[in-house]
Symmetry: C2
Subunit: 406 residues, 2 copies
């Protein structure tokens, strides 16, 4: 059933490298729809709706929109704000004022929850509104969908980073810890496994939040790798924890969604490096070890120039699919999800209820990690991951055929 | 004068994204030279010469050599070892055993010093040996040369990282500190300025070791930016220091060249973030600020897929030029340097004595930084930097034309 009115689109939460592909997918599809009048942009998401900071997206140059689509991070700017009943009430006032009948909100599960609350309020109010959530998250932790736009590019960045770091570590030796984003799910940390090209390439151990982390075991496992090949590259999720979710290092800060600060600090990496220095000092009392930690931090989520082509194309499709779903009237709300076809890589989009995506997140299956919880199971992860990341830079090695010394 | 004998090539010090271009430049040029017999590779630099870990580079597949050339980090593996007289004596024994008459050593100023010591010993011994140093360093701090192979690619990485981080910060606000490599010179940190595309793009303040760093002034300058635009992206060199070189945070570790550990720890970033949190808490008692620090660490020095084409081509030329200089016999030793032509970007190579490159390093001219020491002078830096980095990813912005609220 055709519904006449205006459309409003916004972006929420942390950025990705391809979130503007989704935005431009929404904008261009909405501008092309006869029953949709104005296409508005909410500046800083629902924050902009509340503040009356709203822009006219039909005024944007179509060619420039393509440059914006290829630019990382939220072009409409973003927000971290959990909507209360009062906030939702004020958002509806705006929607009514502006005759907004189509609302597209791009973000993660917190954003889906926001969209869901607004949708429920619209229903209760008897206000006809089509509310669609477009997924994005580098964490790949949304329920229902096969994978999330934004993940492939972030995973690509993590792979390239580990490729370089493995080469660095191989040339100079020592032990290197890299801390990767991922609050509750190890998807991004696990992607580091794809960096391995040659036998003995790192990461040599991989720690994800899906398996409990134990400091003593960690030290013993790193020591074993070091004894075997004289070096070790380590991937650690920022979200690793002991049994029952016990924090390894707790920085204390909590955001408005109750999430505790993990990124933007080198504390976990430095703590693990110090712990390993003490351990290796005892295990090898006569040797000096070069033990370093890098925290990848915010770099991995929207690095211009390191983008998966598949991810970019799918992010665009998610935006277009949201507008198509809203126009069809088959659903008055939902979240766009991907379904993977059997055989050669291909995806379909479908609509899943907002309630199925809001609130909870999806961890990696535990059996995609080995029993010891210190590596991925490549046979399970790689077929899933490879098509999302795309072809990686070529890495070569010399054969280094030793001469016989005279 | 044509000198018959074998060639030996090695790599030393930290890796770069293009150091293997130089290596392959040396290998291919040496293999093509009639008077050069075997072309040997020292595995782990002079460490491999001492240990008898030497490989036959004529056995490498030429096509694979091109893949290796495009692979970051030292393909022959690297070493950090300051040669003593005893070590040099043992190196000559090897050279005599293997009839090595051409020695090519790729690295920074420490490597040039090593090459210089070996060259002096060869002269004193009356052993005819042509010793050439090929420059590489992401720090761009070698004397004499206009710039160093490896710098352009690392600078490119830093630019792309700041482009992404500025977009991230723009979308969500707050204060973000990024710590960039560079022990004594701010070249790499200064390159962050090239990330600015639009007015108000970050980095908004840039701190290099060429200007004394003062914590109180730093806090005040960040606060001023925050008061003006509501956010701030900060570039800080890991090597910043107070008057007389006083460390801001000292980690205590020192390597065999007497260099103190700066990288591989988040300590400086975390310290600056904590200091800013305290300062901003007092300046804005009613607001909560999002203040984060990322330490770019080892990522910036050899990230596959983020390579400046000019840098790669020049690194190859440096290797080829070293072999050409050695063959010509015009000099029995030297370091390859670049001279920039007037007008449109172009470089020539020339040979400078090893003693002019060894030991000391070159900081940025102080007047390439502004008087306050918190930003670069774009008119001076940009014409120098742009051609080395190459065209950066396109960054777009929406015009966001506000609608009048009803």
């Amino acid at each position: 059933m055709s519904l006449s009115g205006n459309a409003l689109v916004g972006q929420s939460g942390g950025p990705t490298a391809v979130i503007n592909q989704t935005l431009v997918g929404v904008i261009k599809a909405a501008l092309a729809a006869d029953e949709i009048g104005a296409v508005y942009g909410a500046i800083h998401g629902i924050g902009g709706i509340l503040a009356g900071e709203i822009c006219d997206l039909s005024a944007e140059d179509p060619d420039n929109l393509e440059v914006v689509a290829g630019t990382p991070s939220s072009a409409l700017l973003s927000v971290r704000l959990k909507p209360t009943d009062d906030i939702c009430r004020r958002i509806f006032e705006r929607f009514k004022q502006l005759d907004v009948r189509y609302f597209f909100y791009i973000g993660g599960n917190d954003t889906a929850e926001t969209t869901h609350i607004i949708n429920e309020m619209a229903r209760a109010d008897g206000y006809e509104l089509r509310c669609f959530h477009c997924p994005k998250t580098i964490d790949n932790d949304l329920l229902v969908t096969d994978h999330c736009p934004g993940y492939g590019s972030a995973a690509r960045w993590v792979c390239q980073a580990f490729m370089g770091d493995n080469l660095d570590n191989r040339s100079l030796g020592g032990i290197k810890i890299n801390i990767v984003m991922g609050r509750d799910a190890g998807w991004l940390t696990a992607a580091s496994a794809l960096a391995r090209v040659f036998p003995e390439d790192g990461p040599h151990v991989i720690y994800c939040p899906e398996a409990d982390f134990d400091l003593a075991r960690f030290c013993a496992e790193v020591e074993a790798v070091y004894r075997r090949i004289g070096r070790c590259v380590i991937a650690v999720s920022e979200g690793v924890h002991g049994p029952g979710g016990a924090a390894i290092v707790d920085l204390g800060e909590v955001d408005s969604h109750g999430n505790r600060q993990l990124s933007g600090s080198g504390a976990l990496g430095d703590f693990l490096a110090d712990t390993l220095k003490a351990h290796m000092g005892k295990a090898f009392p006569d040797q000096k070890h070069r033990i370093r930690a890098d925290t990848f931090g915010y770099l991995q989520r929207c690095f211009p120039g390191v983008v998966s082509e598949v991810d970019a194309a799918e992010a665009r499709r998610a935006g277009e699919a949201a507008v198509a779903a809203a126009r069809s009237g088959e659903h008055d709300s939902g979240s766009i999800a991907f379904r993977r076809a059997e055989g050669a890589y291909a995806v379909d989009t479908f609509v899943t209820p907002l309630s199925t995506v809001a609130k909870d997140t999806k961890a990696m299956p535990r059996d995609w990690l080995n029993e010891a919880g210190n590596d991925v199971v490549e046979d399970k992860l790689m077929p899933y991951l490879r098509p999302l990341v795309g072809a990686l830079p070529a890495i070569g090695q010399l054969t280094m055929q030793r001469i016989e010394m005279p």
